[in-house]
């Protein structure tokens, strides 16, 4: 059996359903073997689309997403998506072709050291130099990508290895490891802290859905009555409609959420990592709070904020081991008051489209939906105003902030969940980063619903230049954008444009009722800003509210 066939057999053995990829010279033996496979290959139009679609598939299913590219530029085009998966802990296996081993190190055609290049952004990587090692490398890649704190794994396959014959097809058996249970001493330490706290708060992160611990989190949140705030990736850990959910914390979070964090005396951090966008200035973050940290990754404990108790290992087990708090009724009331005080308002003046209200109405009208989004102002509006009943309804590039994530992630999500309504919210800057994937939507008839918020500028950068750079606008004007409806039409995808508030309800219906892919092009005032905002370098006590001209 040839090495390339071993690659395909190994992927089939892992139960791979979709491979997102793009062929080329060094990976050709594997594409040749793929012809005889039952796995479905999705031909994207740029390798970054492949890795981000694999990311969207992985986040939607909890299973490993697979992407494939050739050597050199094919491999380097995966790099941003690999970093995206690394920072958001997404299980990805990226398979790259490599020049033959005899040519490696000679600056051969389409040769780059992708193994060396990606070391800081992979959980692990393999450069396979013996055909017999292919099954174990791929088997281990899947195990490593998905176990504990997930992440991307690269498998680099030189062409002579995939062309080589293996005398015997080895079978690789994954070792079975029992989930790690939290340390009993730390459980007791945490219990003392929780019982002694007057103002405890649950700080929900993306690790909850990654660890499949949503139910355990909700059970504890319900039984304890401890109020909940969430990070960008933690949204939906409890329904965003739940009365105990105060809001998203951080730079563009809800002011009520930031107030309860800053006033808490115990943060129970579940699967979150004290990211700077969540904490603001670190030394002023929740200054009177002790910390109980629940995580799968030992390296996150006390990395940025000292943990007074650390529960490592399986998140559900750790959550099930948490003690009940004492009487926290006054604190619960105070948090509810902050929730009410800082509830979002939708009575913006004017007759232009008010995007926060449109997004709220969109998720009110949709059923069984997933929202993927790009990066920028619209991403923050999605986080603030869309409703999420579960975290895996919200796919966002949180850690890396990858413009161009939305459409490929939407492709992956829709293929993973064919019965779901998948909506991509994007911006006029972000959509241009991976607009070629409209061809992928058309080719496979993927009915993605794209809401393109167009402010003719790089809105979030423009906003920072307005507020923090004395209105010295530098390279943020996109007023010469193409006609996006015509662009969509040229890809064979229908589109329509709105720019008034009274068109919003019809637009939502048209978007949701479309059978195939569709784009709603929503034109808004370029001067629109996202509020509220913690200025960079400030603590979360300092939130700027909307400034009216």
């Amino acid at each position: 059996m040839k090495g390339a066939e071993l690659v395909i057999k190994s992927l089939e053995r892992e139960g791979v359903e979709f491979i997102f990829g793009y062929p080329g010279g060094a990976i050709m033996p594997v594409y040749d073997a793929l012809v005889d496979s039952t796995m479905k290959h999705v031909l994207v139009r740029h390798e970054q689309g492949a890795v981000l679609a694999a990311d969207g598939y992985a986040r939607s299913t909890g299973r490993v997403g697979v992407c494939m590219a050739t050597s050199g530029p094919g491999a380097t085009n995966l790099v941003t998506g690999i970093a995206n998966a690394y920072l958001d802990s997404v299980p990805i296996v990226a398979i790259t072709g490599q020049v033959p081993t005899s040519l490696m190190g000679t600056d051969a055609f389409q040769e780059v050291d992708i193994f060396g290049m990606t070391m800081p952004i992979v959980k692990h990587s393999f450069l396979v130099r013996r055909v017999e090692d292919i099954p174990s490398a791929i088997g281990e890649a899947f195990r490593i990508a998905s176990e504990g704190r997930p992440g991307p794994v690269l498998v680099d396959l030189p062409k002579d290895i995939t062309n080589a014959e293996a005398s015997l097809a080895p079978v690789w058996q994954a070792p079975v490891e029992a989930p790690v249970q939290p340390d009993t001493v730390e459980v007791e330490n945490a219990a003392e802290l929780i019982r002694g706290a007057a103002r405890p708060l649950l700080y929900a992160g993306g690790g909850i859905v990654i660890a499949d611990a949503v139910e355990a989190f909700r059970t504890y949140a319900e039984s304890s009555g401890i109020p909940v705030v969430a990070t960008l990736k933690g949204l939906g850990a409890v329904s965003t409609r739940h009365e105990n959910f105060i809001g998203m914390l951080g730079m563009h979070g809800n002011q009520g959420a930031n107030k309860v964090v800053q006033n808490s005396d115990l943060l129970i951090c579940v699967g979150a990592r004290f990211d700077d966008r969540a904490t603001g200035r670190l030394d002023g973050f929740a200054p009177r709070a002790k910390v109980v940290h629940l995580d799968a990754d030992p390296a996150e404990i006390s990395k940025l904020r000292h943990a007074d108790a650390a529960l490592l290992g399986d998140l559900s087990s750790s959550l099930n081991a948490l003690a009940a708090p004492g009487d926290i009724a006054p604190w619960q009331t105070w948090c509810q008051d902050r929730r009410t005080e800082h509830a979002w308002r939708y009575d913006a003046p004017g007759d232009g489209v008010y995007v926060p209200d449109m997004l709220r109405k969109l998720t009110d009208a949709a059923e069984n939906y997933v929202v993927t989004c790009d990066v920028g102002q619209h991403q923050m509006w999605v986080a603030q105003h869309c409703h999420f009943d579960r975290p895996d309804q919200h796919l966002t590039s949180a850690g890396l902030g990858t413009m161009g994530y939305g459409i490929p992630a939407g492709i992956g999500a829709k293929l993973a969940k064919p019965d779901a309504t998948v909506i991509t919210v994007t911006g006029d800057g972000s959509i241009m980063m991976n607009i070629q994937e409209l061809a992928t939507l058309k080719r496979y008839g993927i009915p993605l619903k794209i809401l393109l918020v167009d402010n003719s500028s790089l809105g979030l950068v423009r906003q920072w230049q307005e507020l923090f750079h004395q209105e010295r606008y530098s390279e943020v004007d996109l007023s010469d954008n193409p006609d996006f409806v015509e662009v969509a039409r040229s890809f064979g995808i229908p589109g329509f444009r709105i720019d008034r508030r009274d068109q919003v309800d019809d637009a939502i219906q048209r978007l949701l009722n479309a059978d195939g892919p569709i784009i709603a092009h929503v034109c808004i005032d370029p001067k629109t800003n996202v509020w509220p905002l913690v200025p960079p370098g400030e603590t979360n006590d300092v939130m700027l509210e909307e400034q009216t001209a």
Binding site: F115, G116, M119, P120, K123, L127, L282, D283, P298, S302
Partner: protein
């Protein structure tokens, strides 16, 4: 603050650069390295002298221990307790 980190690791392509790269990327200065053959020809022991510029060397040790090529990490010498990052970053 100077520390000595001793690692047992697989003698495998990329293992050394992956480990040293992580140490430097996480904000530490490598001031000395030595390697020796480990218990088998597939293993090696690497001793790294490093300077912790205000970051927690214990957190670094846990980050290094996550590497799949590394089987054990020990901090052989510590001049003084490491400062917490939140203290060092106060600004």
């Amino acid at each position: 603050m100077n520390h000595t980190m001793t690692l047992r690791m697989d003698r495998i392509e990329g293992a050394i650069i992956r480990t040293l790269g992580l140490i430097e990327r996480r904000g530490f200065t490598v001031t000395g390295i030595s390697t020796a053959t480990g218990e088998s020809e597939h293993q090696m022991e690497m001793t790294v002298e490093l300077n912790a510029a205000g970051r927690s060397v214990e957190v670094l040790a846990r980050q290094v221990a996550r590497l799949f090529d590394v089987s054990s990490v020990s901090l052989a010498k510590q001049d003084a307790p490491a400062m917490r990052l939140e203290e060092s970053l106060a600004c």
